[in-house]
Symmetry: C2
Subunit: 200 residues, 2 copies
């Protein structure tokens, strides 16, 4: 047994690419099988149907990926941490990039159904809260924490979009520059590490 269990993974890899390029409805089981080089019913051997294949990617793998990503955000140096996190997206594996991209697509309601959107919105709220909590201790009292947290999240979202969705490669200095533009002047002098590490 288990002659070709990795066929299951190869099917999923091809599926992620097709869902990305052609959407759920534009993706055919036949074209996935064709790309993988297996027969059509093999998809049904490993997955109950088209929707279950899509769901495993978008409802399970995508959120697992996001959790893994979150762990890469070290606390301490705020600007440096976010810069590194975003910059690391440049060198994501091709599969992870497509997985991320498909997740964003569904998050924006550009694919999937109402059920998926619900999951995404629930998750998004927790992300905002955690970001706000992370930057709060680094702001001076006069700063509007909510505004800055929102603006930061908005900026991070577009940077992610540029790299993951549009496929561009952003240099670390630019990422740091844009993030600093928002956070720099509000940082407390006494951050745990690297009080003055930003480039002017």
């Amino acid at each position: 047994m288990m002659k070709e269990e990795n066929l299951r993974m190869r099917i999923k890899e091809a599926a992620v690419e097709h869902f990305n390029r052609n959407g759920y409805h534009g993706t055919t089981i036949r074209s996935i099988a064709g790309d993988v080089g297996c027969s059509l019913p093999m998809i049904y051997y490993y997955y109950k149907n088209k929707k279950e294949l899509f769901d495993e990617i978008v409802k399970r793998d995508y959120f697992q990926f996001l959790s893994k990503q979150e762990l890469n955000l070290e606390s301490g140096d705020v600007i440096g941490g976010y810069t590194k996190l975003i910059h690391s997206l440049n060198s994501l594996s091709s599969y992870d990039k497509h997985l991320y991209r498909l997740g964003v697509k569904v998050y924006l309601s550009f694919d999937g159904d109402a059920e998926h959107i619900q999951d995404m919105d629930t998750y998004e709220e927790t992300v905002y809260v955690s970001h706000a909590a992370r930057i709060k201790p680094h702001l001076v009292g006069s700063a509007d924490c909510n505004l800055i947290a929102h603006t930061l999240m908005h900026l991070l979202d577009t940077l992610i979009m540029e790299i993951v969705v549009k496929g561009k490669t952003l240099p670390e200095e630019q990422i740091r520059g844009e993030i600093s533009l928002i956070l720099e002047r509000y940082q407390k002098r006494s951050s745990m590490t690297e009080q003055a590490s930003m480039a002017t």
Copy 2:
């Protein structure tokens, strides 16, 4: 003759909604006809085929809409101008909002084909150049104009996304706040109008 020429427009309105919700491949001519309340071949009476219907929306109407939008950006007060432009998206007609949303979807390569993407990328470059030229005279010499222009465009993109794609309603103060966060301290004292109009 011309008993119901507005049927053509009603078909397009329904089409924009369906392309938004279900994508090009997920949209069926039958469902459009069903929504409009006409028979299926009426779509073919006004449009050569599905692709031509999609193209008229995405390749013609969307860019016409963008041109119209661009005219709403008054020069002079930079922060106020961008704030007003973005805030006006909240009260776009339902059709224009869907049209905008579909355009963004194609711009991000989430729908349409390579041909559409090409048009979008060409247009995007001209937009960046015009934004950079617009804010340049308002920056003090020490500021990195390119960085600020990029960051501003990124921020505007997410604000547009929140309103047009995610369907949220953003209050004017928040929009002005986020834009100010980037532009405020770099503005020259001697802008043509309203030297000190921002809220702290």
